[in-house]
């Protein structure tokens, strides 16, 4: 299998051995040469023989399968992306059956230099023999696809789904991939799309990148998905509170009055009778069997109830956890802010105290002033010696040696560019004594005074020189 891989198709799968096999068969019939793409299948904890099937699968393209404990679709997609070699990533759900021109269409939707995320249609094939829930989902999907396919329609992050999506690997890497805290069904795609939009990625729709969705869920399965979607909607809103006001979560009080009343009643009953949701699923199954003429309407209402069941449950859970944790965090925040404020006030107090006792000249400038008259008499850029009292006491909060050292340093600092040596081995020697006019005779032995500048500052000539 030689050649450069341009596309990496990532298909996370969970307990759908037959579906994934169908998807791989369809990928084997692509018009794009098999050397130009690879398929990566992260198996998200399946124990239905998917791994064994994939191990024996004879694919014309490079196929990689990895198994990981069940962590959700986001983690599985990230695991697959990490193994990808192609510059373009195509995310595909495991119940999809792409048409032969599918990958070529995705490739064509990404011209050089573009920075896009492109979704393709995911129509659900259904006829009169199909289960009613499949027809219901087909109608809903067709309505979505009709909207996406409208000329001039600008896709927003809520139009993006990862069931049939292509984007540059670099863009995905830049935003850090999918958020793996989304372990339940739903919203991980909106969340990714929201961050992609923030990172400047444009969204597009490729009508030719068709992948048929072989819908095999029952109403009970769809209801479970809706409960999970309610949970993940809360997670999404908590992660991006700045857009929470525009989400479905904030539409609880919208819609017909009668339905809002019924939904509230159902949610209240769910609190009283934990098995109420199961009873509702059973009731829907009965309506399905009766082929009730308003079945689609009841599907919509029931699924809306299941969404809110998940959302209210998540809000209660996160509320209970958050109350304790956020109270702690808020307390810590308040302490931190108060500490900062307190420190600032203490700094201000120190400043006021310092300003009240401010001398006309700071200590170093005052000390330096003693050498003002000496400096012009010294040769520029030359070395002179240094002599001071042999017996200097402690002072300025320093012990005697440190005080003597500090005074020597200050002398050097004041007399630059003349270099002051710490001994008397130069021709000229600077004297720096504590008391004016009476240099330490022991210290000045072998030196002859040239000039006394007052304040204990003197210039000597070394007799040895």
């Amino acid at each position: 299998m030689s050649g450069t891989v341009r596309i990496s198709v990532v298909i996370p799968t969970y307990q759908r051995r037959t579906s994934i096999q169908r998807a791989l068969d369809a990928l084997g019939r692509q018009t794009l040469p098999a050397t130009e793409f690879e398929v990566i299948v992260p198996i998200d904890g399946s124990d239905d023989g998917t791994k064994e099937m994939l191990d024996g699968f004879q694919a014309p393209f490079r196929l990689t399968a990895i198994w990981q404990p069940n962590q959700g679709r986001a983690a599985a997609r990230n695991a697959g992306t990490r193994l990808a070699n192609g510059e373009l990533i195509v995310f595909l759900d495991d119940d999809m059956e792409p048409v032969p021109g599918f990958l070529q269409a995705h490739l064509d939707a990404h011209p050089a230099g573009s920075r896009r995320a492109v979704v393709g249609p995911v129509p659900i094939p259904a006829d009169s023999s199909s289960a009613p829930i499949v027809s219901y989902r087909r109608d809903a999907t067709n309505a979505l696809l009709a909207r996406l396919g409208q000329p001039g329609y600008r896709l927003g992050f809520r139009d993006v789904y990862t069931g049939n999506l292509s984007l540059q690997r670099e863009a995905l890497r830049q935003v850090g991939g999918l958020d793996e805290t989304f372990k339940l069904y739903g919203h991980e795609d909106y969340e990714l799309a929201f961050r992609l939009a923030k990172a400047g990625v444009e969204f597009g729709y490729s009508p030719d990148a068709i992948a048929y969705q072989q819908y095999d869920k029952t109403f009970a399965g769809l209801a479970r998905d809706c409960v999970d979607r309610g949970h993940t909607a809360v997670l999404f809103a908590r992660k991006h509170p700045e857009i929470a006001s525009g989400l479905r979560l904030n539409s609880y009080d919208e819609g017909p009055y009668r339905w809002r009343l019924a939904r509230s009643l159902f949610l209240w009953l769910s609190g009283l009778f934990p098995r109420f949701p199961e009873r509702l699923v059973a009731a829907m199954a009965w309506l399905e069997r009766r082929q009730h003429r308003r079945l689609h309407h009841y599907y919509t209402l029931a699924l809306d109830y299941f969404f809110w069941l998940g959302a209210t449950s998540a809000l209660r859970e996160s509320g209970a956890q958050a109350t304790r944790r956020t109270a702690l965090a808020a307390l810590a925040l308040a302490c931190l802010v108060l500490f900062a404020l307190g420190s600032s006030v203490r700094l201000l107090g120190r400043a006021v105290h310092a300003l009240r006792q401010l001398p006309s000249r700071d200590a170093i400038t005052s000390y330096e002033a003693r050498f003002r008259d000496l400096r012009p008499d010294l040769p520029r850029v030359a070395r002179v010696g240094y002599v001071t009292d042999r017996d200097i006491g402690p002072g300025e909060g320093l012990d005697a040696p440190r005080l003597a050292f500090k005074r020597y340093l200050l002398t050097q600092y004041a007399l630059l560019p003349t270099i002051v040596l710490s001994d008397t081995q130069a021709g000229l020697v600077v004297g720096n004594f504590a008391a004016p006019g009476s240099p330490d005779s022991n210290a000045t032995a072998g030196l002859s005074l040239i000039r006394d500048y007052g304040n204990g500052v003197m210039l000597f000539r070394s007799q040895a020189q």
């Binding site: 509170p241 700045e242 850029v381 560019p417």
Partner: protein, 471 residues
């Protein structure tokens, strides 16, 4: 007047240098412009100081430097104008701020800034020439550059070892440059340079965290730095650790901004290289920082971005790093004597010191004392740790990744400091141990950057959140 002119020129040089390097290719928010403003101050001080030293190295008369700098300003302005991009990509900075509590935090921040400015000025007026190390090393070297005239090399290298003539010249160069503009020595110059670096660091910490995470997060980071009394007072004491902390922070912030801007990443990383190079030209610890950063970046970004991308990024970093490193290398080879802490490192002697348990105790004690001193007797560290534990760490990328890079850099730097002290020749002096607090101070703004990049924002932690119905 001339002093003000020289400081205005510094900011313009910084601004135009960043624009020439391609800052303007990403359209930025107001906070992005604040990042640019603060960066321009520090980068301007660094670049102008380096140019001044290069000017002196070429033997040109110092008095002519302001004219040469004027010409450079015109050239940079032309370069920025020619290099400006009409096709700017939209802002990619994230904003997850909530309005809740904003007025209170803004008020507290304003009060803290006002207190810090007053405290800085008062401290400077008490000690206009700076504290011990400031006048003994940095202002002494500045005087050598300024007073030495054409013989500045002889004066600088003639200074006794206790003045550390091997230390790089960014801070002395900045001060001597301002004196050259003013035509005389004035204590306003080192004070102004110190003040610019101190408050540019605070401003950069606020604006970078605000741009990369959220405004409230930026305000909190700035508040903690402003509440670090030791930092403000050391700034007023004119220690070079504050400029060094600016360049450390600028490097990390620019790398993080580069992570968010795919179209402009290489240019922002190049700017990060410039900042890192200037850190090496500020103090010897800057060289250790460059090494630590390359290792940390490789460790985190190699697996995350792929080695090819990580190496390409490091290449851009090296290009930015180059000029300052060349200057540093020239200085170290031709002018500077060997460093007293790094010289006399025979393998056998170093190994012997490694088995000296007393040294470990001394260094550990030094670090503990430093933490207590920087962190207001440990209270600030405890409060900060409690806050970080309460809000938890963020899962948001690339902020989490950037925080990991910063944490590894800081860890490597601390290990490096400890290793140098551990293997230093001769017994460790009290002054070595007492100066550990300043080593910690150099890293303090970067530590806060890492903390507030890696922590969840108050919005993410749910301290403030819009009410979701039905709650």
């Amino acid at each position: 007047m001339r002093l003000a002119l020289s400081l205005a020129a510094v900011w313009l040089i910084g601004l135009l240098t960043l624009l020439c390097l391609g800052w303007g290719r990403t359209a930025t928010t107001g906070r992005g412009r604040s990042v640019l403003t603060c960066l321009a101050i520090g980068i301007g001080l660094g670049v102008s100081s380096s140019l001044f030293v290069v000017w002196l190295l070429f033997g040109a008369p110092a008095a002519a430097f302001p004219y040469a700098e004027s010409v450079l300003l015109v050239l940079l302005a032309v370069g920025a104008f020619v290099g400006r991009s009409r096709n700017r990509r939209p802002s990619q900075y994230l904003d997850r701020s909530s309005q809740v509590g904003r007025p209170v935090l803004s008020l507290v921040l304003s009060l803290s800034v006002a207190c810090a400015v007053i405290a800085f000025v008062a401290e400077w007026m008490t000690n206009r020439q700076g504290a011990w190390d400031a006048w003994m090393t940095w202002n002494m070297h500045a005087r050598a550059l300024f007073r030495g005239g054409e013989q500045w090399r002889e004066v600088l290298t003639g200074l006794p070892a206790w003045s550390h003539p091997d230390y790089p010249l960014l801070v002395p160069g900045s001060v001597a440059r301002v004196w050259t503009y003013a035509g005389q020595e004035t204590t306003f110059a080192p004070g102004a340079v110190a003040m610019l670096f101190t408050f540019a660091t605070i401003g950069l910490l606020y604006s970078a965290v605000a741009s990369l995470r959220s405004r409230t997060q930026g305000v909190l980071a700035a508040l903690v730095l402003l509440g670090t009394k030791f930092y403000i007072l050391q700034g007023a004491s004119q220690y070079a650790d504050i400029p060094l902390s600016f360049f450390f922070l600028a490097t990390l912030a620019l790398l993080s901004l580069g992570e968010l801007s795919e179209s402009n990443r290489s240019r922002l990383v190049m700017m990060a290289g410039v900042a890192a190079g200037l850190s090496a030209w500020t103090k010897n610890e800057g060289t250790l920082f460059v090494l630590a950063l390359v290792i940390a970046y490789g460790l985190v970004m190699g697996p995350a971005l792929g080695w090819r991308t990580a190496l390409a990024t490091l290449r851009s970093f090296a290009i930015g790093l180059g000029p300052a490193v060349l200057l540093l290398a020239f200085f170290k080879i031709n002018l500077a004597p060997a460093n007293d802490l790094l010289s006399d490192h025979g393998l056998r002697q170093s190994a012997e010191r490694l088995f000296d348990a007393g040294r470990y105790v001394q260094i550990l004690t030094g670090f503990t004392q430093a933490v207590l001193e920087v962190g207001a007797k440990g209270l600030l560290v405890v409060l900060l740790a409690a806050y970080l534990l309460a809000v938890g760490s963020t899962q948001v990328e690339p902020a989490s990744r950037d925080a990991r890079v910063a944490v590894i850099v800081i860890g490597l730097m601390l290990a490096g400091y400890a290793a140098v002290l551990l293997t230093a020749p001769a017994p460790l002096l009290d002054t070595n141990i007492r100066s550990i607090n300043r080593l910690l101070l150099q890293l303090w703004p970067s530590m806060l950057f890492a903390c507030f990049m890696g922590a969840r924002t108050i919005e993410e932690a749910g301290i403030v959140t819009p009410r979701l119905s039905p709650a």
